[in-house]
């Protein structure tokens, strides 16, 4: 008998190690993004991420959800699926998926910010992908039958128990 424990995978003789995971699916509407943050908070606390790491992840995951809400479904109904997976106890991999339309390029070049721009040049918008990249350790975007953004955060060494 082998049981997965919240701190990570357990292997036994008979079964392959599998990842632990939690999945949350919500309607692609602005009022559900905070529910994603709440679940992220509950899970990341269990995994002993620090307060600051959790705040970083909250913003990054919300940015990915905001994009699904704003850009994916062009006003039609749709859902966002958020999958939280961890195999090792110190790395959380969050994938935000929609089944919408995405005409942008999946190549994540380093996005631009307001740095070095004058007040006349700066514009609202376009900071979402930048913030995901700045706040997480790794970001990937996959466009195929919708968009899947994978966000990876490693727990800092100081937080390990």
């Amino acid at each position: 008998m082998s049981r997965n424990n919240i701190q990570g995978k357990v292997e036994d003789e008979n079964s392959m190690a599998i990842d632990n995971n939690v999945k949350l699916t919500v309607p692609a509407l602005p009022e559900f993004v905070d529910l994603v943050r709440l679940t992220l908070f509950g899970l990341a606390t269990k995994l002993k991420f620090s307060f600051e790491e959790i705040e970083d992840m909250k913003v990054a995951v919300s940015e990915a959800c905001n994009n699904a809400v704003l850009h994916a479904y062009e006003g039609a109904d749709g859902h966002i699926e958020v999958e939280f997976a961890w195999a090792e106890e110190d790395e959380l991999r969050i994938t935000v998926r929609d089944q919408g339309v995405n005409d942008s390029s999946p190549e994540l070049t380093r996005k631009s910010t307001l740095h070095g721009k004058s007040i006349e040049e700066i514009q609202s918008g376009g900071l979402g992908l930048y913030l995901m990249q700045a706040l997480m350790d790794h970001v990937e975007m996959n466009i195929e039958n919708g968009t899947a953004v994978t966000l990876i955060k490693r727990r800092s060494a100081a937080e390990r128990v």
Binding site: D34, R37, N66, V69, L114, I119, I122, S124, L127
Partner: protein, 106 residues
Amino acid sequence: MKTDKLSFRTENKEGLTVIHLSGELDLEVASQMRTAMEPLVELTDRKLVLNMRDLKYIDSTGIGILIGIVKARHSRQAPFAVEDVSDHIRKLFDMTGISRFLASAH
């Protein structure tokens, strides 16, 4: 104006309007925030300050709204600033580069 999620309290001082934000400023309340700020942006004879002591959450949606206020106040040649910004929100402001445009309040 008040919802469960984001609320505003106005403090009028000599030549200065301070808006105390509390709660979460995200996509759900973005249009409510824009609506609340619109008339305040036009008060060009007073300095406008957003107090963020009780603001628990902001993301690029909220930062986008701040950029709009920065530009509107600049084109009206009227002063704007934020104050009591938490470390986490300060980090987001520094990362995105909006800090430069949010003159400290006092």
